[in-house]
C-alpha cells in the first residue's frame, strides 16, 4: 500500500516537473510547480516528516506560489513562443543521449554512495512538531538563527532596491 502511494505520487511529481518545463504558459508552469510541491509533501508524509509535509504545503504551495501566481497575473504574462528551432534528427538523437546520460549519472551516484539499508516507510518517528522544534532549538540553533538574519537582510535589501527614496 505504501509502495503504491509512493509510486503514484513520485510519478506525479516527475510528471509535473517535466510539465513545468514543457509548458509555454507561465500559469500552467506555476500550477505544475504546485503539483510538484504537493506530491513532495505526500512523500515527506510517508517518510514520517509530518510537520515538514504541512510546512511544505503551507509555505511553498500556499504562500510562495500564491505570490508567484499573483505576479504572473499582475503582469498578465502571455504564452511564450518557442524561439528555438530544432531539427527532428537532433530531437530523436537527444532523447537517446539524455537517457544514456541520466543512466550514467545514476550509476555513478549509486556506486559512490555507501551501501546502506533501504528506507522503511514508517520507521522514522522524529518528524513531529515536537521533534523538529527540539532539534531546531538545540542542535541546529546557530544555522537557524543565521538563516533568520539572512532572510531579514534579504527583506531589507529588497525594500531598499524597490524604493529608491525612503
Amino acid at each position: 500500500m505504501t509502495a503504491l502511494i509512493f509510486f503514484i505520487f513520485a510519478g506525479f511529481a516527475v510528471f509535473c516537473a517535466i510539465n513545468l518545463v514543457a509548458q509555454t504558459h507561465p500559469i500552467a508552469s506555476a500550477l505544475s510547480l504546485i503539483g510538484v510541491m504537493g506530491s513532495l509533501a505526500i512523500l515527506y508524509l510517508q517518510l514520517g516528516g509530518e510537520f515538514i509535509a504541512a510546512a511544505q504545503v503551507i509555505v511553498y504551495a500556499g504562500a510562495i506560489m500564491v505570490l508567484f501566481v499573483f505576479v504572473i497575473m499582475l503582469l498578465n504574462a502571455g504564452a511564450e513562443g518557442t524561439s528555438l528551432q530544432v531539427s527532428n534528427f537532433a530531437k530523436y538523437l537527444g532523447i537517446f543521449l539524455l537517457a544514456a546520460f541520466l543512466g550514467l549519472i545514476s550509476f555513478i551516484i549509486q556506486s559512490m554512495l555507501p551501501k546502506t539499508e533501504g528506507v522503511v516507510f514508517g520507521a522514522f518517528q522524529g518528524g513531529t512538531a515536537l521533534g523538529i522544534g527540539r532539534k531546531l532549538f538545540t542542535q541546529y540553533l546557530l544555522p537557524f538563527e543565521v538563516t533568520s538574519v539572512l532572510i531579514l537582510i534579504a527583506i531589507v535589501g529588497a525594500i531598499v532596491l524597490a524604493r529608491k527614496e525612503i
Binding site: A55, M73, N76
Partner: protein, 396 residues
C-alpha cells in the same frame, strides 16, 4: 475491514449532513438578513420558504452552463472544482464530539484525528485561494482578473494574522491535534468559569475571527466580488453548476472557519456549564422555542402561520423530549449533548457572520491592506509574544 466500513459510514453521514447544512445555511442567511432589514425573505416555496434551497439546486442544475469563447478552458473548468473540493476537505479532521461506544463499536465522532490536524486545515485553506485566483484569471475578463488578484493579495495578507492567532492557543495546549486541543479546554476555573482558550486568548479570538472573515471573502472583506465595482468579481463569467460550486465553497469555508474557531477557542463540544446543569439547557431551549412557536401559531400574523408554526413547535417539543429521554440513556446523551453544544457554538458564530453581512459596508482596498499589515499583524504578533512569555515563565 471493520475500519474501512466504519469510516465509509461516518464519511457518508458527515458528507450528507454537511451538504444539507450548506444548502440550508444559505436559506438561514437570506432569512436572517431579510429580518434584519424588516422583510420576510424567501416565503413562496414551501412553508416559510423552506424548500427554497431545493428549488435553487434544481434551478442551478438545469440552467445552461455557458462557457464563454474567450476563456482558457482547462483552468476555467478546473477552478470551481478546486475551490469546492479544497473547501469541503477540511471537515475530515474536525471532531464533533468525544469517543462513543454504540453496542460493540467504539469510535470517535470525527472522521480522522491527525497529529497535525490544525496545520492540515491551515494548509488546505492556504491552497484554497487558487480556485478563486485561477477562476478570475482563466475567465479572461478584466473584472474577473481584478477579483482574482484582490483575492490572492487579501488571502496572503490575512493568512499571517490568522496563523499567528492560531499559534497562541497551540502554545497553551501544547498540541496540534484538535482532539487534544478540546480535551485541554475541559474543566472549570473556580468551578464555574469554563476553561476555554477564549478567556486568556480574547485578542487571538477576535483576530482569528476578523481574519476568518477575510479568508472566506465575506463582507466587509468581500472585495474579490465587490458587485458595484467588479460586476461579480472572480465569478462574473461562471454560470450554472460552476457558479454553484464557488457559492458552495464560500459557505463551506465559513463552516470550516467557525468550526475551527469553536474548537480552538470555545472548547469544541464541551458545555459552558458544569455537568448536571448543562444537561438541562438544551431541554429548556427547545421547550421555550417550541412554546413560542405554538403561541405565535395560535395568534397568527399571516395566513399560513396557524398551520406551520404549531408544527414547528411540536417538532421542537419532540426534540426536547428526545433530550429528556437521553438523560436516562448514557450513549444517546453523550452524542446529543456533544452535537448540541458544538452546533450551538458554530451556529452562533455563523450568525455573527450573517449579522455582519447584513449591517456593515465594504472596506476600500487600501484600507483592507493597511488594516491587515499595520493593525492585525502587529496585534497578533504581540499576542503571540505575550502568550509565549507567559507559557515559558509558568511551565516547569
Amino acid at each position: 475491514m471493520d475500519f474501512i466500513v466504519l469510516s465509509l459510514i461516518k464519511a457518508a453521514l458527515v458528507a450528507f449532513i454537511l451538504l444539507t447544512a450548506l444548502a440550508y445555511l444559505q436559506w438561514i442567511e437570506r432569512k436572517v438578513i431579510a429580518h434584519i432589514q424588516l422583510r420576510v425573505g424567501p416565503y413562496r416555496v414551501g412553508p416559510h420558504g423552506l424548500l427554497q434551497p431545493l428549488a435553487d439546486v434544481v434551478k442551478l442544475i438545469t440552467k445552461e452552463g455557458v462557457i464563454p469563447s474567450h476563456v482558457n478552458k482547462l483552468f476555467y473548468l478546473m477552478a470551481p472544482w478546486m475551490a469546492v473540493v479544497l473547501a469541503l476537505i477540511s471537515i475530515a479532521v474536525i471532531p464533533f464530539g468525544p469517543q462513543i461506544t454504540v453496542g460493540p463499536i467504539t469510535t470517535w465522532m470525527q472522521l480522522t484525528d491527525l497529529r497535525i490536524g490544525i496545520l492540515f486545515v491551515l494548509a488546505v485553506s492556504s491552497i484554497g485561494v487558487y480556485g478563486v485566483a485561477l477562476g478570475g484569471w482563466a475567465s479572461n475578463n478584466k473584472y474577473s482578473l481584478l477579483g482574482g488578484l484582490r483575492s490572492s493579495a487579501q488571502m496572503i495578507s490575512y493568512e499571517l494574522p490568522l496563523a499567528l492567532a492560531v499559534a497562541a492557543p497551540l502554545l497553551l495546549a501544547n498540541t496540534l491535534s484538535f482532539r487534544d486541543m478540546v480535551n485541554y479546554q475541559a474543566g472549570y476555573w473556580l468551578g464555574f468559569i469554563p476553561h476555554w482558550n477564549v478567556l486568556p486568548q480574547i485578542i487571538g479570538f477576535v483576530v482569528f475571527l476578523i481574519a476568518g472573515f477575510a479568508e472566506t471573502n465575506r463582507v466587509p472583506f468581500d472585495l474579490p466580488e465587490a458587485e458595484n465595482e467588479l460586476v461579480a468579481g472572480f465569478h462574473t463569467e461562471y454560470s450554472s453548476m460552476k457558479f454553484a460550486a464557488f457559492f458552495m465553497a464560500e459557505y463551506a469555508n465559513m463552516v470550516t472557519v467557525t468550526a475551527v474557531a469553536t474548537l480552538l477557542f470555545l472548547g469544541g463540544w464541551l458545555p459552558p456549564f458544569p455537568e448536571p446543569y448543562s444537561d438541562f439547557v438544551p431541554i429548556i431551549v427547545f421547550v421555550v422555542g417550541g412554546l413560542i412557536a405554538i403561541y405565535h401559531g395560535l395568534n397568527p400574523a399571516r395566513r399560513m402561520d396557524k398551520y406551520t408554526l404549531p408544527v414547528t413547535g411540536l417538532v421542537f417539543l419532540a426534540i426536547a423530549a428526545l433530550f429528556g429521554l437521553s438523560l436516562f440513556v448514557p450513549v444517546l446523551k453523550t452524542i446529543l449533548m456533544a452535537l448540541f453544544w458544538f452546533c450551538a457554538k458554530v451556529g452562533i458564530l455563523l450568525f455573527i457572520f450573517i449579522w455582519v453581512r447584513a449591517t456593515s459596508p465594504r472596506f476600500r482596498y487600501d484600507q483592507l491592506m493597511r488594516f491587515a499589515w499595520t493593525f492585525m499583524f502587529p496585534l497578533a504578533m504581540l499576542n503571540l509574544l505575550v502568550t509565549g512569555l507567559v507559557v515559558a515563565l509558568t511551565s516547569k
